[in-house]
């Protein structure tokens, strides 16, 4: 099983969501690792990940079949009201323990990073739990992140994209009252002529695919865990091999 995500293209906006329970058999080791992320056990996540690396398992399989599904499930439980903010944050932290084992090894095998991504929460919005999870995941996948933090104005996004020659902008918002700033930022990208050089992806609890399409975003993520595959798709990076030099 290589493809964890499905994607479909609706009009202009590329939409990513995770298929849940796709019915495919998952190796017990991966299941244990997912469970450890879901149950927020940082030490166990680290141990299991290290064990798999020692066994010589493929790093991206550990990531995509072990660590990520645990985080996907934690996010879904949060959405359903079965988990709360502590559980979500603690699962993110556990995920990071696993990624910290994988990331240095992935870097060793990479020619270069996948590209620079400017990330931030939009103006007047201070929520960053989802945004920080996206950063953990994009970094884990091999992107270089320029994190502008929270309450980021369109001008600040534009400056950072210019200065860093970023290929991708990822914006987050948790409030319906601040989502319009995603639109204003995309408008400023057009006005400054930068839009031709940069792709945009948006997400956050109140953001919908229709909204993303209406504001002219290039991509929409329903959940943070779909961010890496969407980012790859938008930048035309194919498969995992692009980041890993064969052993």
């Amino acid at each position: 099983m290589r493809q964890v995500n499905k994607n479909r293209k609706t009009a202009d906006v590329l939409i990513r969501t995770h298929p849940f329970h796709d019915g495919q058999e998952i190796d017990q080791g991966f299941q244990d690792l997912s469970q450890a992320v879901l149950m927020r056990d940082c030490r166990l996540v680290k141990e299991l990940t290290e064990g798999m690396v020692e066994e010589g398992m493929d790093l991206f399989e550990i990531l995509n079949h072990g660590l990520i599904p645990g985080m996907v499930e934690a996010s879904e439980r949060f959405r359903r009201g079965e988990f709360f903010i502590p559980e979500l944050l603690m699962s993110s932290r556990a995920l990071k323990f696993g990624l910290n084992v994988l990331r240095p090894l992935m870097r060793e095998r990479k020619k270069d990073v996948l590209g620079k991504v400017v990330v931030g929460t939009v103006k007047f919005d201070l929520h960053d739990i989802g945004k920080n999870l996206v950063i953990i995941l994009l970094e884990g996948d091999g992107f270089e992140i320029i994190d502008l933090g929270v309450d980021v104005s369109p001008e600040k996004f534009v400056k950072a994209i210019e200065k860093n020659e970023a290929k991708l902008l990822a914006m987050s918002s948790l409030l319906t009252s601040t989502m319009s700033w995603m639109k204003f930022t995309i408008e400023l990208l057009h006005a400054t002529g930068l839009k031709r050089k940069v792709k945009t992806m948006v997400g956050g609890a109140p953001v919908t695919p229709i909204f993303a399409k209406n504001i002219g975003a290039d991509g929409y993520c329903r959940e943070a865990t779909s961010a890496p595959s969407l980012a790859r798709e938008l930048l035309g990076i194919e498969g995992d091999e692009a980041t890993v030099i064969p052993k």
Partner: protein, 236 residues
């Protein structure tokens, strides 16, 4: 966009003393009840629904579907868009009257403009009202609930991660509660977070209009057969 908000065609607005069912969030119960008249009935829901918008929609839709056509002239929501928690709501029997706001803070402050001004000047504000303190959550009560499930260090870490960008606690006085009874509690929360404390003068104006009409500029009337859409609340 067909949102059925035309005054001329709006049957409910033609009625004198329409009989209304108010479905509202528990945090604004006292403010709404202040304007109760013989023609209104209330049903309040747990404040926590805003965290799970899908559950909010379900809970409210069940309630709307149960209402008999002859019992009321219209249904009023004591909710804003609330993280899309009301998106998709529809009634085949009644008009839905909804304040055109993002969340309850506009109601407490008295207008969407007042909320916009506050957000622009102090985006890092954690708003409290007596209703939020009594029926909802405060930073201290959040911490206490985290500490019941996890150890102290973890609870502190979670609260820090959740609240680190806040710079101010603002207690809103709508004039409905004796605010002096809530001041110390609100100040304690500010101290607990290490942020500034401020009191803001709110207004009962939108609560009054929610119940008494005439539902003009700050309200949407979604006629029967139509459903609530996110776009109705956005100024794009």
């Amino acid at each position: 966009m067909d949102i059925g908000n035309s005054t001329k065609e709006c049957l409910i607005k033609g009625k004198k003393n329409p009989k209304l069912l108010i479905l509202g969030c528990a945090v604004m119960e006292q403010e709404l009840r202040k304007f109760q008249n013989g023609q209104t009935e209330f049903k309040f829901f747990d404040y926590g629904l805003h965290r799970t918008p899908e559950n909010m929609t379900k809970a409210l839709q069940v309630e709307i579907d149960q209402v008999q056509e002859e019992d009321y002239d219209g249904i009023v929501l004591g909710y804003g868009l609330c993280s899309n928690g009301i998106v998709g709501l529809h009634s085949s029997k009644h008009s839905l009257i909804i304040p055109r706001i993002h969340d309850c803070i506009s109601l407490f402050l008295g207008s969407p403009e007042a909320y916009r001004e506050q957000s622009a000047e102090h985006p890092g504000t954690y708003y409290l009202t007596p209703g939020w303190i009594e029926r909802g959550q405060t930073p201290i009560s959040k911490y206490e609930s985290y500490a019941r499930s996890y150890d102290e260090e973890t609870a502190r870490w979670v609260l820090h991660e959740e609240m680190k960008h806040y710079t101010r606690i603002a207690l809103i006085d709508t004039g409905v509660y004796p605010i002096e009874l809530y001041r110390e509690g609100a100040k304690e929360n500010a101290k607990f977070l290490g942020v500034a404390y401020e009191e803001l003068r709110g207004s009962p104006q939108l609560f009054r209009e929610l119940i008494c009409g005439p539902w003009e500029q700050n309200f949407l009337i979604v006629e029967k057969g139509h459903s609530v859409q996110q776009e109705m609340f956005l100024d794009l």
